[in-house]
């Protein structure tokens, strides 16, 4: 008998994975659906900005004459006056909100809608920038300006890339079903083959890794060809982030698959739940909280690897924030290494 022909096995394995409907759903259809939702939300939000109809009142204090930079943006129609006048205008709904401009700025609103959210976003960013002038890099300012991102397509692109990386966890999880006895019938047959089980694990994970990263790169290639001009990505960093992100996700998902004492179906649902929570946290953390976590509790991000990947992609897209990028890369590396070691140990020393 000759040595095992891994190339032939690899081709068959890729064919098999491409026919797996569940994985295709999670890797292609679901991200596209989410992309559509994000796109719709962004369009709705940004349409309000483009119309230039946000009525904002400013109560000036003579000692604080410095103006916020965002007030010069076209979408605002500014009304100046004293506090009483602004209150009346707000009650009559002639303005959307008014800002008392002082050391500690106050924003007054009669209700909370799209326009108010935009104003709030700008003020969040402005305050952070003013605070960061002394202690933080420019990067954090940019990263905590979700509303001010240059292009909605860019944001959607970053989200979907990040999502595709993170969904690698599902690929890894599905692979483990085939490699752990009692989880599928085929696992017994595979483990009884003369291929060492460590090699089998490596081979299966390598196949999904290559296929998953390939999928993301194809998606990215199409996106870069179509909206590339807007993105101005540092491509080598982008590729490195995708490669590291999907590897971490696959290993984490595979490790989750080795957990014992949890029913397979429960594990499946649990993984989906954890992924959804992590993704929502990574994508929709408000600017202020994101800033607070980056500044005060940087290692909290470690609990949510999707946030690391998303943040790294932000840095690349905005071409800013080397420190945060390096910090996140390091954390992601540690996380991936830990997931890999835990997976190997659990797989290798798994009791019958």
């Amino acid at each position: 008998m000759n040595k095992v022909n891994y190339w032939e096995l690899f081709l068959d394995r890729i064919k098999l994975l491409c026919r797996r409907k569940k994985i295709l759903f999670f890797s292609l259809i679901l991200p596209l659906l989410i992309m559509g939702i994000i796109n719709f939300m962004m369009t709705a939000l940004l349409s309000a900005r483009e119309e230039g109809n946000i009525e904002l009142g400013i109560v000036r204090d003579e000692k604080e004459m410095a103006a916020y930079s965002f007030l010069n943006k076209g979408e605002f129609h500014i009304v100046y006056g004293d506090k009483e006048k602004m209150q009346t205008l707000l009650l009559e709904k002639k303005i959307d909100a008014y800002l008392v401009y002082s050391q500690v700025p106050e924003l007054h609103m009669s209700d909370m809608g799209r326009k108010q959210a935009i104003i709030k976003g700008y003020i969040d960013s402005e305050i952070q920038r003013m605070d960061s002038q002394n202690s933080n890099s420019k990067l954090i300012v940019n990263m905590t300006e979700p509303i001010a991102l240059p292009d909605k397509k860019c944001l959607a692109f970053l989200y979907i890339t990040s999502l595709l990386c993170i969904l690698g966890a599902r690929w890894g999880f599905e692979e483990m079903k085939e490699l752990i006895p009692n989880q599928s019938a085929v696992s017994k047959r595979l483990l009884l083959s003369p291929v060492p089980k460590e090699k089998l694990l490596l081979f299966h994970l390598a196949c999904v890794y290559i296929l998953q990263t390939g999928c993301i790169l194809i998606f990215s290639f199409i996106m870069l060809k179509t909206i590339g001009k807007h993105l101005q990505l540092r491509e080598e960093l982008y590729l490195a982030t995708v490669a590291a992100g999907s590897l971490g996700s696959i290993l984490a998902g595979a490790f989750f698959g080795t957990l014992k004492r949890i029913n397979q179906k429960v594990k499946d649902v649990l993984l989906n739940g954890v992924l959804i929570v992590m993704l929502l946290t990574a994508f929709f953390t408000p600017a202020a909280s994101r800033y607070f976590i980056s500044d005060k509790l940087p290692y909290l991000t470690f609990l949510n690897p999707p946030a690391l990947i998303t943040e790294m992609l932000y840095c690349i897209a905005l071409q800013n924030g080397l420190f945060v990028f390096l910090k996140d890369s390091l954390l992601l590396f540690v996380y991936t290494l830990a997931a890999g070691i835990c997976l190997y140990l659990r797989y290798k020393w798994r009791k019958e």
């Binding site: 008998m1 000759n2 040595k3 095992v4 022909n5 032939e8 096995l9 068959d12 064919k15 098999l16 994975l17 026919r19 797996r20 006895p181 019938a185 085929v186 017994k188 047959r189 595979l190 483990l191 009884l192 083959s193 003369p194 291929v195 060492p196 089980k197 019958e352």
Partner: protein, 309 residues
């Protein structure tokens, strides 16, 4: 000796799954392991294949210790499991070829072996079908094909025809016989007495993890006192006549139900003649007569006091 299991003990907490179990399987033999559900068959299989650790004893395959990392030994072993262990996403051909590739490196050989196996099991018309589209019988044949495609020297079968239709059942049984003729050693694990009796050259009976009897089917049948079972169609029998029949020489038990008299006789000559003489003497009219030699079920029943189920 291909398989040598000595004093194997396997416990699950307080439950003893295998209790000082011994097994010897010679080369070129079909060795049947017969036992009801829960008797320890699958645990034995898992221990032999290195999937489960055992508490005491030893397992040698071709004189070498078998454990989960014995990859050299695994090359020569083929396994057909009770459940269909195939990939849903691959066609019948691709499945057989994939499992062959795990054992055989040469691409041409993989093709050759796959084609041979497909022809051997009569699966030519279904090569492009996915497992979901196959009938249970064809699925069994596919699973069997995946286990034998790399031409193993030792084939371990765990209920290989469970759930198969008669045609597939026959095809698989014929294939097993053919593989034996080609020199493959086969360990056949089942709770179906007929399969084991039909195929096996040697049989081990398993009960609560212990080997309660071992030998050829003739040797096993000779172990028990039951000689034969005689069924006679009799239109009426009184209680007194039944009593007299049960007192005839060598009779170990009688039953009368639905106009049929069943007489179980111990080993001895002229049991049938003695019964017929009695019926003629008493002028009791009788019809069809059937005599049956003891089955493995009878052997199991006499040794353990319970049926194979």
């Amino acid at each position: 000796m291909v398989i040598e299991v000595k004093n194997l003990v396997k416990r699950y907490d307080r439950i003893i799954a295998l209790d000082y179990f011994n097994l010897m399987v010679k080369e070129g033999q079909i060795h049947g392991i017969l036992g009801p559900a829960g008797s320890g068959k699958t645990t034995l299989l898992d221990c032999i294949l290195g999937l489960k650790k055992y508490d005491k004893g030893s397992i040698l395959l071709w004189g070498k210790k078998m454990d989960r990392d014995s990859y050299e030994l695994k090359k020569d072993i083929g396994v057909v499991l009770e459940e269909e262990a195939v990939f849903e996403e691959l066609t019948l051909y691709e499945n057989i070829s994939y499992f062959c590739s795990l054992y055989v490196g040469d691409k041409q050989k993989v093709k050759e072996f796959t084609k041979e196996t497909i022809e051997f099991l009569g699966l030519e018309d279904f090569i492009k079908l996915y497992p979901k589209k196959l009938s249970p019988g064809l699925l069994r044949r596919l699973s069997f094909a995946c286990g034998i495609v790399h031409k193993p020297k030792l084939l371990i079968l765990d209920e290989p025809i469970e759930g198969a239709d008669p045609h597939s059942r026959k095809k698989i049984m014929d294939s097993i016989q053919e593989l034996k003729n080609r020199g493959t050693t086969i360990l056949y694990i089942s709770q179906n007495m007929d399969e084991i009796e039909q195929l096996s050259t040697e049989i081990t009976m398993l009960d609560r993890g212990r080997a309660i009897a071992q030998g050829t089917k003739e040797e096993l049948k000779n172990m028990i006192s039951l000689g034969e079972k005689i069924s006679v169609e009799v239109y009426s029998l009184s209680e007194e006549q039944m009593k007299e029949i049960s007192q005839l020489p060598n009779v170990s038990g009688t039953e009368y139900d639905n106009r049929t008299l069943i007489m179980k006789a111990k080993k001895g000559r002229n049991n049938l003649m003695t019964l017929l003489d009695y019926l003629q003497e008493r002028k009791i009219p009788f019809g069809r007569i059937i005599t049956e030699m003891p089955t493995l079920d009878d052997v199991y029943l006499e040794i353990t006091g319970k049926e194979l189920g």
